[in-house]
């Protein structure tokens, strides 16, 4: 093994890890969207309302739109398109979910998470799961922006941003 091959191997492993993470997150978001879309939307509106952060019309608006946003993010993560938009958007969404869940758990409200349909109370397990998803999303966001660093182009040509496409 030459001196060059070890960093290459690590870089390839990291790249594969990021792809797995991205596809995993896409699957989770897609599943969450599918579960919500197959049930009557009012059921999810009640889950949103139980957090007591939005007025009734706000809960209804979130219940109507959120599953479609989750589905769109899942498709973008799956295809690798617009990652510098999709990754931060997923991170903001997951950070909001996580903050609301922690708040509700600390207050002892005993409500449903609403993450994957009804019947799942907020517990240390759901917090750990959503915290893990948030961490994964933050790693992917960092990776998406890290790839956009300016790279010097060969001598004699003008310097420009070389942005890799996909992970």
């Amino acid at each position: 093994m030459d001196l060059q091959s070890k960093p290459d191997l690590l870089s390839n492993l990291a790249r594969i890890g990021l792809v797995i993470l991205r596809l995993g997150l896409a699957a989770v978001l897609g599943y969450a969207a599918w579960i919500k879309l197959r049930e009557p939307w009012m059921l999810f509106a009640m889950s949103v309302d139980a957090y007591h952060v939005l007025p009734e019309w706000g809960s209804m608006a979130v219940a109507r739109s959120l599953p479609w946003i989750e589905l769109l993010l899942a498709v973008l993560l799956l295809t690798g398109l617009w990652q510098r938009v999709a990754m931060p958007a997923a991170s903001v969404l997951l950070a909001a979910f996580f903050a609301l869940m922690v708040r509700s758990y600390v207050r002892g409200e005993g409500i449903d998470c609403g993450c994957f349909g009804p019947g799942e109370a907020i517990s240390p397990i759901t917090l750990l799961r959503d915290g893990g998803l948030l961490a994964a999303s933050l790693v992917l966001t960092w990776a998406a922006y890290r790839r956009a660093r300016p790279k010097p182009i060969a001598a004699g040509s003008r310097t420009s941003l070389a942005v890799e496409s996909g992970l």
């Binding site: 059921l43 309302d49 409200e109 409500i111």
Partner: protein
């Protein structure tokens, strides 16, 4: 004869699998399109809020007009020292046709009996002297105590993890809804199911 026996045999698993319903704890039309199973704990403040706030409206709009069949289920939580005793008295009261009245006095006076443990004294206010004697005996009856356990087991099998939890049943579909509910949203959901 053979045919009816075969039909009866084929129905047997469904009859066995059907959840038990204590008629004294069930209200409305049993053949209503929706069944609402309400798992609650007499010592839980959120159950009190639901019982005194949302439930009368739900009964008025859905149970009385025959759109929903309401079935009360006991789900005394382990952290509440008097809730199992209260559930036993309520089940005993159901056997003399006074479940609703006893549930009302238990929820109305929840702060006092939760503090001093005077559950029977609270229950007695909703009963005649003859009913009081009957209920006091029935509350210690193994059949009544096992009824409470059966409700708890049913709740566990339905993955009830908080009180109050409503399980809304429409055909083969079950929708568990936990916690403090917004009645407008619940109404929208129920109306959507009955359309």
């Amino acid at each position: 004869m053979r045919l009816s026996a075969a039909v009866l045999l084929s129905l047997l698993p469904a009859l066995v699998a059907a959840p038990s319903v204590d008629k004294g704890k069930a209200f409305g039309n049993p053949s209503a399109p929706i069944t609402i199973e309400l798992f609650s704990d007499f010592q839980c403040p959120s159950c009190r809020a639901l019982h005194m706030g949302l439930l009368p409206a739900l009964i008025r709009d859905y149970v009385v007009p025959g759109k929903a069949y309401l079935v009360y289920k006991e789900y005394p939580l382990p952290g509440h020292s008097h809730s199992r005793e209260a559930a036993a008295y309520a089940c005993a009261a159901a056997r003399v046709g006074k479940y609703e009245q006893v549930a009302d006095v238990l929820f109305q006076n929840q702060p006092s009996w939760s503090a001093d443990g005077k559950v029977f004294e609270t229950v007695a206010a909703a009963l005649t002297p003859a009913e009081q004697k009957k209920v006091q005996l029935l509350a210690k009856d193994p059949g009544v105590l096992s009824e409470v356990d059966q409700d708890v087991q049913e709740g566990q099998s339905e993955r009830v993890n908080a009180t109050p939890t409503m399980i809304i049943v429409r055909g083969a579909k079950k929708y568990p809804i936990a916690g403090d509910l917004n009645y407008n949203l619940l109404r929208g959901f129920l109306d959507g199911l009955t359309k």
